[in-house]
């Protein structure tokens, strides 16, 4: 029995390695062939902004928007395949969907209070799933290399600052809302500017000045958080795209990009995890009574 399991897992591992190799080699080959045809390296540089392909009325449609729809469609079909006929004993795609959802739920519950975790889970889980799928699908052959009117048709959504800023904006609005809901308006002000450490008496007067200053720094930090989230993700993925494009077009047969594809596979997952974990951690700093609770516990003792 155990031997069969080991053989099965080794076979799965082999399939995964082959898939990774294919994922890494195919884009190299296709892009290198494209580069050979054009022979113009400058035209292969990735622009920092996502180019507009066409307009629907007044609304511009960029290549990253198109790929966002593709990513959304892929996510939709995968989850529908996994949850259309759910059985109590999971099988096939249901296992993958359940593992992903349960894993993210456990992660959120492990870092936040249960009440806050329930509010936050759909958003942070969507951050992770959307970012990881976008990043990985951004490494597929054709993304960035299939062009229409000189512009790539597909661009990973996370390599477009509009998408990362949109996600960060959603995070900022929702985290502020949850912070208000959790602490109340006065409670939030007290949470940010209040004297911490359970100090009492006259010492509070000079300390409150210091804590007001610290609170101001905290407010700046809270405002910078979404910018940091958005720019970190955008910078990493856009940077990765740029490196891949440069290595594809500036090395024989684009073979120089091969190691970077493996690196980008890692970055794709790590960046999704970083965005998600930081979102959870930032929300956790605003929605927690750990300071009060520790003092309460101390007083109790």
């Amino acid at each position: 029995m155990a031997v069969n399991v080991v053989i099965g897992s080794m076979r799965s591992l082999r399939i995964i390695i082959v898939c990774f190799l294919l994922a890494a080699v195919l884009p190299v080959a296709t892009s290198a062939l494209g580069a050979g045809k054009d022979g113009d390296h400058a035209s292969h540089s990735v622009s920092p902004d996502a180019p507009t392909l066409f307009h629907v009325g007044p609304l511009p449609v960029t290549n990253s928007m198109i790929y966002t729809w593709v990513v959304a469609a892929v996510i939709f079909f995968v989850i529908r395949a996994g949850t259309r006929k759910m059985g109590e004993v999971p099988s096939g795609v249901q296992n993958i969907v359940e593992a992903a959802v349960e894993g993210l739920e456990e992660l959120t519950k492990g870092l936040l209070e249960p009440k806050v975790a329930r509010w936050v889970f759909p958003l942070v889980a969507t951050f992770f799933l959307f970012i990881v799928v976008s990043n990985l699908m951004g490494l597929l052959p054709g993304v960035g290399s299939i062009k229409w009117n000189g512009n790539p048709i597909f661009r990973p959504p996370t390599a477009d600052a509009n998408m990362t800023v949109a996600m960060a904006a959603v995070f900022f609005v929702m985290s502020t809302w949850w912070a208000l809901k959790y602490n109340g308006p006065l409670g939030l002000v007290k949470h940010i500017f209040g004297v911490k450490g359970g100090m009492k008496g006259l010492i509070v007067i000079p300390l409150s000045l210091i804590f007001i200053f610290i609170g101001l720094i905290e407010v700046i930090s809270i405002c910078i958080r979404p910018v940091a989230l958005a720019m970190r993700l955008y910078g990493n993925i856009y940077g990765g795209e740029s490196v891949l494009t440069i290595m594809l077009t500036n090395s024989p047969l684009g073979i120089g990009a091969l190691p970077f594809y493996f690196l980008e596979l890692l970055v794709a997952v790590v960046q999704a995890l970083v965005f998600t974990l930081l979102s959870i951690a930032f929300i956790g700093t605003l929605c927690s009574h750990s300071d009060d609770e520790s003092h309460g516990a101390k007083d109790h003792h």
Binding site: A50, L59, A72, T83, E105, P122, T126, N162
Partner: protein, 167 residues
């Protein structure tokens, strides 16, 4: 600031469009992934908890049944032993009664046999005396050569009987 935003391609319509796209993805995931999966996980948790409770109950019931069956067995054993003891006592009593009855019957038989024997012996003795008397009378008549009278015969017979009784 404006130049940076322009370089990165950030402008309001695209930002709103991407926000809507993200919201759609989130809605899709919420509607068809999180909700059914979390419901299923909750259902499974409840079922597992229920199964565990049931298993505990079954275990408890099994333990109770085992205790009860053991008690019943012990009781049955005690009752069996009691019955065996009673049966033994009863059997011993019956054996004693029957033995006594048999002894009494045997003594009775022996007494009857002795009586019958004695009666037979007395009868045989009487017959013998009579026969001996008759022989004595007959022998006397032959030896003396005369005919004995009834009185003589009576007297001889009585004398013979007396002599036999004395011996």
């Amino acid at each position: 600031m404006g130049e940076t935003l322009h370089t990165l391609g950030i402008d309001l319509p695209k930002l709103i469009a991407q926000t809507i796209n993200f919201a759609i993805v989130m809605f899709v995931l919420w509607k068809w992934a999180y909700k059914p999966v979390l419901n299923m996980l909750e259902l499974r948790r409840e079922k597992i908890a229920e199964s565990m409770t049931n298993a505990d109950q079954v275990k408890q019931e099994l333990a109770n049944a085992r205790t009860k069956s053991q008690e019943i067995l012990n009781e049955a054993g005690t009752q069996g032993n009691k019955l065996i003891e009673e049966a033994r006592t009863s059997a011993a009593r019956i054996l004693e009664q029957e033995t006594q009855k048999a002894i009494a019957t045997a003594n009775d038989i022996i007494a009857k046999a002795r009586q019958a024997n004695e009666a037979e012996l007395a009868r045989m003795k009487t017959e013998l005396r009579r026969e001996v008397g008759r022989l004595v009378v007959s022998t006397t008549a032959r030896v003396t050569g005369k005919v004995l009278t009834t009185d003589d015969q009576q007297r001889l017979a009585e004398e013979t009987n007396r002599q036999l009784a004395a011996n």
